[in-house]
Symmetry: C2
Subunit: 218 residues, 2 copies
């Protein structure tokens, strides 16, 4: 009872606990159906009693897993420097590629499926956590770049939130919903880069002010 649940206390999970959470992620990816406490305990070589001691209940385990995965994605939050047209395009391209790589990954698909299924009922919003660490986290990282671009006279827009949402739509299009609904689109890195490039060009066509490089492959 000292250690209590890593979920409620929001402490960082221990190495052993992280191993358990990775097992949960693995089971999610394999087959979301067989994600049972017995299966987790068996695969993780730990007892169910320990699972309940650490995570409280099934929802606690799922929540901890979502947080754990989210904590991995948060990478560099590099400060906004002075932008010229080329670096702005490059930064946007990076965001688009990263985002597409994330949402097309099997872990993201499985995690979003679980969270969406859970969002139907009330208790313990996994959906909120996924949104906060996915859609909104990327938004908070992109908007400063957009604003720096505006400050440098490269972009013209009024509402950075609305502008980011357009960028989001141009990048993601129908990909996420199709994957979530079970279609098996396979993207290699090349296709993702091509897709991201198209989205960035279209975004700059809508919001760009100067055009330092008029190559259009739309």
């Amino acid at each position: 009872m000292m250690q209590a649940s890593a979920t409620a206390e929001r402490e960082a999970p221990s190495a052993r606990q992280q191993a358990v959470l990775d097992v949960v992620l693995g089971l999610m990816v394999e087959d979301g159906e067989q994600l049972t406490m017995d299966a987790v305990a068996r695969r993780a070589s730990c007892s169910k009693e320990t699972l309940y001691k650490w995570f409280g209940d099934r929802d606690g385990l799922l929540t901890a897993t979502v947080r754990w995965q989210a904590s991995r994605v948060h990478a560099g939050h590099d400060a906004a420097q002075i932008l010229d047209g080329a670096t702005l395009r490059e930064r946007l391209q990076d965001f688009a590629v990263t985002w597409l790589e994330v949402i097309t990954g099997p872990t993201s698909v499985a995690l979003n499926r679980i969270a969406i299924a859970h969002a139907g009922s009330r208790k313990s919003n996994l959906g909120g956590i996924v949104l906060a660490n996915g859609r909104f986290a990327i938004g908070e990282r992109v908007k400063p770049v957009l604003e720096a671009g505006r400050a440098a006279g490269l972009l013209a827009f009024a509402d950075s939130e609305a502008t980011f949402r357009t960028f989001f739509g141009l990048v993601g299009r129908d990909i996420q919903i199709r994957l979530l609904l079970g279609e098996t689109l396979d993207f290699d890195g090349a296709e993702i880069r091509r897709d991201a490039g198209r989205a960035v060009e279209q975004f700059l066509a809508l919001y760009g002010q100067a055009k330092p490089d008029p190559n259009r492959h739309v």
Copy 2:
């Protein structure tokens, strides 16, 4: 055993069966968790045995429900006439409004949640049905309009599928994923129309050739 399952045979459901399917939809919207065969039978005032006779099993009932809802959405498939700029814009606006109204509706959200949760396992792809009647159905209706616009010299693009996907992204942006993950965005008709208008303007800015009416409310 004469009548057999309305699902397997793909016959149109009888009026009584439609009432049952509407009950299922209602339960889905209310709370996806309590969607149990007992609850359906109780709410629909029919026996579970009848449910199993009509629909085979739980998946059959869900599949029939998805089909039933899909059959309602398929509205006018009006043939493409000659387009001028104003009617092209109007047609696109109509599609955007309709699509946004559908995906923001509680029925669509609940149905997509069920289908996505189901897509995790293999058996009985509700996801495929939802995709076919949602994303792909709207695509097959929009693409002829785009091609008619191109034939009239109003639009310029090479791949109508890719072009539609951009339109899809500009209209939907992050709305569907946020709703599926449990965020409560409430749209009134005015906001939907404004959103659709912005999407259409942006789409025409990317793909339009002539601009007969340069009012920009972006």
